[in-house]
């Protein structure tokens, strides 16, 4: 009993040490990020022949209400040469129809699909010479990963970028990512972008005109959470090349390496984390120098779920995908061959992310037990909890500070105050719910091990729901 108490204490201490170290790395990098964003001439870059060409892959499943706006937004990016490939994943609504009518698309007689990656056969590729940079693939339903693979097979350019159909890219987002890529084109295999919550912002002509925090509670919690994860976490992880995930909403990849690792894996959610783990594994096993970068100045705005039901479904799906990825790749953990990935990232993700809720619950039970058996005093408990709370709060404030140092996207003081308040409220309920959802996700995983394909499709349907209230 006592041993478990000690263990729990060390667990909490370790997790906080890791959090703070990562945050320190983030702080060390933030001024570099600020300067490179401030002094780069993105306008000049965005017209240059020398910038590598990119294929944007946009999987769409039942997005008829929002897809036009998103495609229009994607077609007006500040970027010299790129193409937009929308993959209609067997939508049951009129996604393909609205696209065809809006852009006057006609089927291509001989679409040049390479078979670099296995994917389901497609129905047709649509194109209109008047919009030379837009392609629409129509294929039977096969999930998000399969759509991305089909997109890769059609894509004409050496870099690919996956973008969710319910997200809006900032005009400069792609050129900012390309700038990061051009720093080191030989070694960069993937770059992640910063994902922010668009709820509450004023959106006009497919662009965010005025940045503001969400008014509703659930998106607000997520805004705090995203800020902490992206600025506080991912900047730090990328600086030691230990980034384990590039958000599926907006990431850039070297096509040759994505093909080399066999493309996206279908059947389970979490394909965005999976592809990054596979890239790490491939590069390390082949002893190639590489980096997985993070570019926080490239921003993608996404519609966050604003009801409990949709949010909990999303989080359960993440929990499910995360567990699957961990089980698939557990051999990397504690294996020195995999360097930072094997010694830090994977163990951290398994012990402190995937299993976190179980430790939390057992820790809580243990504490209750101790108190009941008079083995400890409530004051000790209060101090323990307070330390926990304060360190968590400090991390949130740190992320906010990073934001204000480098980006200053929130112009209103009231928004900052709200951020700080919600960072506090998060510890009373929301954080616990996060653990609960993760456990529920794990339960789903264990139950539905065999019937996974349908679950993924189901979850996509849920996801597209979130985009619709816009």
């Amino acid at each position: 009993m006592l041993i478990y108490g000690l263990f729990a204490t060390y667990y909490v201490m370790t997790v906080n040490v890791i959090y703070f170290s990562i945050m320190t790395f983030s702080f060390r990098n933030i001024m570099t990020i600020f300067r490179r964003a401030a002094y780069s001439k993105y306008n000049t870059l965005s017209g240059s022949e020398l910038v590598p060409s990119i294929s944007l892959l946009v999987p769409a499943y039942n997005e008829e209400l929002t897809v036009i706006e998103n495609v229009k937004c994607l077609m007006t990016l500040n970027y010299p040469t790129y193409e937009v490939i929308v993959i209609n994943d067997g939508s049951s609504d009129d996604t393909l129809g609205v696209l065809r009518r809006e852009f006057g698309l006609e089927p291509l007689p001989n679409p040049e699909m390479r078979n670099s990656i296995d994917c389901q056969p497609i129905n047709a590729v649509y194109h209109n010479p008047q919009y030379p940079h837009l392609y629409v693939i129509d294929k039977p339903n096969g999930g998000k990963a399969d759509s991305l693979n089909a997109g890769i097979n059609l894509s004409h350019y050496p870099l690919i970028s996956s973008i969710d159909a319910d997200s809006l890219l900032e005009k400069d987002a792609l050129i900012r990512m390309a700038r990061t890529y051009m720093e080191n084109p030989e070694e960069t295999v993937a770059i992640g972008g910063d994902v922010r919550i668009a709820n509450g912002c004023v959106i006009e002509n497919g662009a965010v005109k005025e940045v503001s925090l969400p008014r509703k509670m659930w998106p607000m919690f997520q805004a705090v959470e995203y800020l902490k994860a992206f600025l506080g976490g991912r900047i730090g992880w990328s600086s030691i090349n230990g980034l384990i995930i590039v958000s599926g909403a907006f990431g850039l990849f070297r096509k040759d390496y994505v093909i080399a690792v066999g493309g996206y894996r279908g059947g389970y959610p979490g394909e965005d984390m999976n592809i990054i783990i596979k890239l790490h594994r491939y590069m390390l096993e082949n002893k190639l120098k590489y980096r997985v970068a993070f570019c926080p100045e490239a921003v993608c705005w996404t519609q966050a779920p604003d009801t409990y039901r949709i949010l909990s479904n999303q989080r359960k799906r993440w929990g499910r995908g995360n567990l699957k990825n961990m089980i698939e790749n557990y051999d990397m953990a504690f294996n020195p061959k995999y360097k930072v990935m094997g010694l830090l990232t994977m163990p951290y993700n398994i012990i402190f992310e995937a299993l976190n809720p179980y430790f939390k619950i057992t820790g809580l039970l243990a504490l209750i037990g101790y108190t009941m058996m008079d083995m400890t005093h409530w004051r000790v408990l209060a101090v323990f909890w307070l330390i926990n709370f304060l360190s968590g709060y400090l991390l949130s404030i740190g992320a906010l500070l990073l934001e204000e140092l480098a980006f200053k996207r929130f112009s209103k003081l009231s928004d900052l105050v709200r951020m700080m308040l919600y960072s506090m409220f998060k510890f009373f309920g929301y954080a616990q719910l996060g653990g609960l959802w993760r456990i529920q996700g794990h339960i789903q995983y264990l139950r539905n091990n065999n019937s996974w394909g349908t679950m993924t499709r189901q979850s996509w349907q849920e996801k597209s729901d979130t985009a619709k209230p816009a």
Partner: protein, 283 residues
């Protein structure tokens, strides 16, 4: 609101097309045109004018009512300038006899050749009648056609560059308007009918090439000249732009002197078209 504005623009355009069509069908090579504008004129103005004109033998006018009340367009087939001027004087006198308070503004001219009468000239004439300060009869000459201030629409997302271009072009004596995104630019082209659009390709709202294409599909009497001023230096895009009928393509950073020269050249070629020397007809 926007819809009705658009509708009236389309009516206006079809009006010019009607006039042009009537001239084509006219038996005479020479044709006189008279524009009348009476601010706050009565609704029965058209009937009255018709009465005055039809009481004289040998005059076969065609009359159209403009979109604003009190504005009229009259075509005198076969009439030379002095005859049209006489009709103008007569109309003005008769109208003011019955309505002493009415301020009658007129612009008139006569075209010795049919093909000189184009929609562009009609637009200029209508502008000149609106710009008149007092109730005079203004005779519209070909020289005036040449010295008329050209209208340039500046489409640019960057506020600093936009302001710079606006100030510079105004100092050069052009009339300017600005738009900061592709969609409002398209609206402004329809309503303001610029002679030339100086535009960035990289705009909010609409992709560059479809945007150029859209400009050419607009329901305006004369498609404006398009000069692209952009950061975009990809050769393929440049050649696609020229294929789509762009008149000139300048990349940033640009030389303002060169820009002036290129704008002047594009406008000159437009003038040549207007004077009928090169009677290539647009729509």
């Amino acid at each position: 609101m926007l819809n009705t504005a658009l509708q009236s623009k389309q009516e206006q355009t079809s009006l010019y097309m009607d006039i042009e069509q009537s001239v084509k069908e006219a038996a005479y090579e020479t044709n006189g045109i008279l524009f009348i504008s009476c601010a706050g004129g009565p609704t029965y103005l058209e009937k009255q004018v018709r009465g005055i004109l039809e009481s004289q033998p040998g005059v076969n006018p065609k009359i159209w009512g403009g979109e604003e009340p009190g504005s009229l367009f009259i075509l005198f087939p076969g009439q030379t300038l002095d005859a049209v001027h006489f009709q103008g004087l007569l109309l003005k006198q008769r109208l003011q006899e019955s309505m002493p308070d009415l301020v009658v503004r007129m612009t008139l001219t006569s075209f010795p050749e049919k093909k000189q009468l184009t929609q562009e000239v009609l637009i200029k004439m209508e502008d000149s009648v609106k710009q008149q300060a007092s109730g005079e009869i203004h005779i519209f000459t070909r020289e005036e056609m040449k010295t008329m201030r050209s209208r340039i629409l500046i489409v640019e997302g960057d506020a600093t560059v936009r302001e710079f271009l606006e100030i510079r072009l105004q100092m050069q004596g052009y009339e300017t308007a600005v738009a900061d995104n592709g969609l409002s630019a398209l609206e402004t082209i329809e309503s303001w009918k610029p002679d030339l659009v100086l535009t960035e390709l990289n705009l909010y709202g609409i992709d560059g090439l479809p945007y150029i294409h859209h400009i050419q599909q607009l329901q305006v009497p004369a498609v404006p000249k398009i000069v692209v001023l952009t950061e975009q230096r990809v050769e393929q895009t440049i050649s696609l732009c020229f294929q789509n009928g762009v008149d000139d393509y300048i990349t940033k950073p640009f030389s303002p002197v060169e820009l002036d020269a290129r704008i002047r050249r594009s406008l000159n070629s437009l003038r040549m078209n207007l004077q009928g020397l090169n009677s290539q007809h647009i729509k």
